[in-house]
């Protein structure tokens, strides 16, 4: 297939990809689930965390780390999850349900291009959300901005890859918009449990829980982000865990995806 596509006229151009990204962006703006989750939720949670006095406390009196600091990576994990399991897969499932993906496959543009456009749009959304959280918490709530910048970026990118791959698995297996919504919502709880949304892992005493958490995508992500915020490069273990999950889910999405 690739041999023939290289030479024939009508090979999809960058023009087509740009137009698809533009049109997916318009749809994201007009049906702003992703915007609400990606931008609305972090701003709202930041304000809550900033205003509640409990989050200013130190976790351990001998360590300057406050609950606010600990919650910044958890917040990032939460918005990434919301974007990845709701905003990313649902438009794909809807467009498959409406046979739009099938219609696309009768044009010179492969439906894979639409998936790429959808990933690109949600990636931008995720970046905006993360910048809002990091900048907002540093500017208004005196949380130190990540001092190990390359480590932080690497951790964030791997976490995004991991979660987006999970989102694409949902897009691959969900037969309908409702099913996608249900699967996405159901996944938020276990993912976020291990991220420490309800109880940050620093405050959990049994180390077994800690170890299990560090093997989950978001446990590893939060661990890696927190370390780089505190000035140390993330552990290879946490990065490897995320990379492994990203690979597993990507392969699963590719194997399971149905265009119609």
């Amino acid at each position: 297939m690739s041999a023939s596509t290289a030479t024939v006229p009508g090979r999809p151009s960058s023009k087509a990809l740009k137009a698809l990204v533009a049109s997916e962006s318009r749809l994201a703006w007009r049906e702003p689930v992703g915007l609400v989750l990606g931008v609305g939720v972090p701003v709202m949670l930041l304000v809550i965390f900033g205003l509640s006095s409990g989050f200013q406390k130190r976790i351990v009196s001998t360590n300057p780390t406050t609950y606010r600091t600990v919650y910044v990576p958890i917040l990032i994990a939460l918005v990434l999850t919301l974007i990845a399991v709701i905003s990313l897969p649902i438009p794909i499932v809807v467009q498959r349900e409406r046979k739009f993906l099938r219609r696309l496959s009768t044009t010179p543009v492969a439906p894979l291009w639409l998936l790429s456009a959808q990933v690109a749009v949600n990636f931008v959304l995720a970046l905006v959300a993360m910048v809002l959280i990091v900048a907002g918490s540093a500017l208004f709530f005196s949380v130190h901005a990540p001092s190990q910048v390359p480590g932080f970026i690497l951790a964030v990118l791997l976490a995004t890859a991991c979660l987006f791959a999970i989102g694409l698995v949902i897009a691959a297996v969900a037969p309908s918009e409702r099913a996608a919504g249900a699967i996405g919502s159901a996944l938020i709880f276990p993912l976020m449990f291990f991220a420490g949304l309800w109880q940050p892992s620093q405050t959990v005493t049994p180390s077994v829980m800690h170890d299990i958490s560090n093997l989950t995508p978001l446990g590893a992500a939060v661990h890696a982000m927190l370390r780089s915020m505190q000035g140390t490069f993330p552990t290879i273990g946490s990065l490897a865990v995320m990379a492994a999950w990203a690979a597993i889910f990507t392969i699963a999405a590719v194997k399971l995806f149905r265009w119609e």
């Binding site: 297939m1 023939s4 596509t5 024939v8 006229p9 009508g10 090979r11 999809p12 151009s13 023009k15 087509a16 740009k18 137009a19 698809l20 049109s23 318009r26 749809l27 007009r30 049906e31 809807v94 467009q95 409406r98 046979k99 739009f100 099938r102 219609r103 496959s105 009768t106 044009t107 010179p108 543009v109």
Partner: protein
């Protein structure tokens, strides 16, 4: 001029004797030979062959589930045939999929567009997919969608959505357009408007494959039709010839001014059958039935009063060929 060109395209291909389906078509654009496609144990297309000439409107007709959609899905490269060969503009829809997709515009049954894009945005989006797209403004004008340019797709009526899907099938400046169940679900007014549009599209030089289960649509639009039943082509010709040849001919009813001997008319070459219904006579036959009957009656001094002529329809032809009526109801889609 234009008329004579169109007449030339109406070349008869006799299915029964066509070893090579290309025989008789001057400029074949589509050639399908021995197409076979099954989904698991269900055979959707048993054995389908046909040829479509340049600039034709070629109809694929048959009841729901006859294999029409599967046939055109193989043409557009959406499905891979199990057996048989397909050539579209000299290309293989699987091997040369990219070129075929750039040259063939498709309107799918039941395809819906994203609801919150406007008509103009949709047309521009699809235009970006093709190397040399048609002029979007002109196309929207042709399809009567200019006033709807800035409306969201979801706000459109069924007929308008159908016109958008025709616009999207044509935006790439295709050489061939495949239109599946073009007017299913439209009201009679919208159907007639759509038919006019399709004739306009053909006049732009596009070869059209039209899938339908409406016999009247095929009679109105198609230069030639293939009747498909249970995955096989059961007849192929111009709608008029098919109706005449396979539909049991025309029926002429009249009141004779006085009784006459049946032999008077039965001997005519145009007459196949003669029946009495009360004091009415029904003569069935082909060709110039009315003139032959009236002039023969005149020789015996008989006049025909209250003459009614009923032409055989494609539906009649279908019933006689398939042994069961086609379903002209707006049924659910088929595979």
């Amino acid at each position: 001029m234009a008329m004579s060109v169109r007449e030339d395209k109406r070349v008869v291909t006799d299915v029964q004797t066509s070893e090579r389906p290309a025989a008789g078509i001057a400029h074949p654009v589509i050639e399908v030979t021995g197409l076979h496609k099954a989904y698991g144990a269900t055979v959707a297309v048993e054995d389908v062959s046909f040829v479509v000439g340049n600039g034709e409107i070629f109809g694929i007709l048959g009841p729901n589930g006859a294999g029409k959609t599967t046939t055109v899905e193989c043409l557009s490269g959406l499905r891979v045939p199990d057996r048989g060969t397909i050539s579209v503009l000299g290309l293989d829809p699987q091997r040369d999929r990219h070129t075929v997709r750039a040259l063939v515009g498709v309107q799918l049954q039941e395809g819906l567009m994203p609801s919150k894009l406007t008509v103009g945005e949709l047309v521009d989006l699809f235009a970006s997919f093709y190397p040399s797209p048609a002029d979007a403004r002109e196309l929207l004008e042709l399809l009567g969608l200019t006033a709807k340019r800035d409306d969201y797709y979801k706000r459109l009526s069924g007929g308008q959505k159908q016109r958008v899907s025709i616009a999207l099938a044509l935006i790439g400046n295709p050489k061939v357009a495949i239109l599946d169940e073009l007017t299913t679900g439209l009201d009679p007014q919208a159907r007639r408007e759509t038919w006019g549009l399709i004739e306009g599209v053909r006049d732009r030089g596009v070869t059209i494959v039209l899938v339908t289960h409406f016999m009247d649509e095929a009679e109105r639009l198609c230069d030639r039709v293939a009747l498909i039943d249970s995955g096989r082509v059961i007849a192929m010709d111009t709608p008029a010839r098919l109706a005449e040849r396979e539909g049991g001919g025309n029926h002429m009813r009249f009141h004779p001014s006085r009784p006459f001997d049946d032999a008077l008319l039965v001997g005519l070459p145009e007459v196949d059958r003669l029946e009495h219904q009360g004091d009415r006579v029904v003569v069935s036959g082909t060709g110039d039935l009315i003139n032959a009957v009236i002039s023969r009656l005149a020789t015996a001094g008989v006049e025909a009063h209250d003459v009614q002529l009923e032409s055989a329809t494609l539906e009649d032809a279908f019933v006689r060929l398939a042994g069961h009526p086609s379903e002209t109801s707006n049924g659910a889609g088929e595979r």
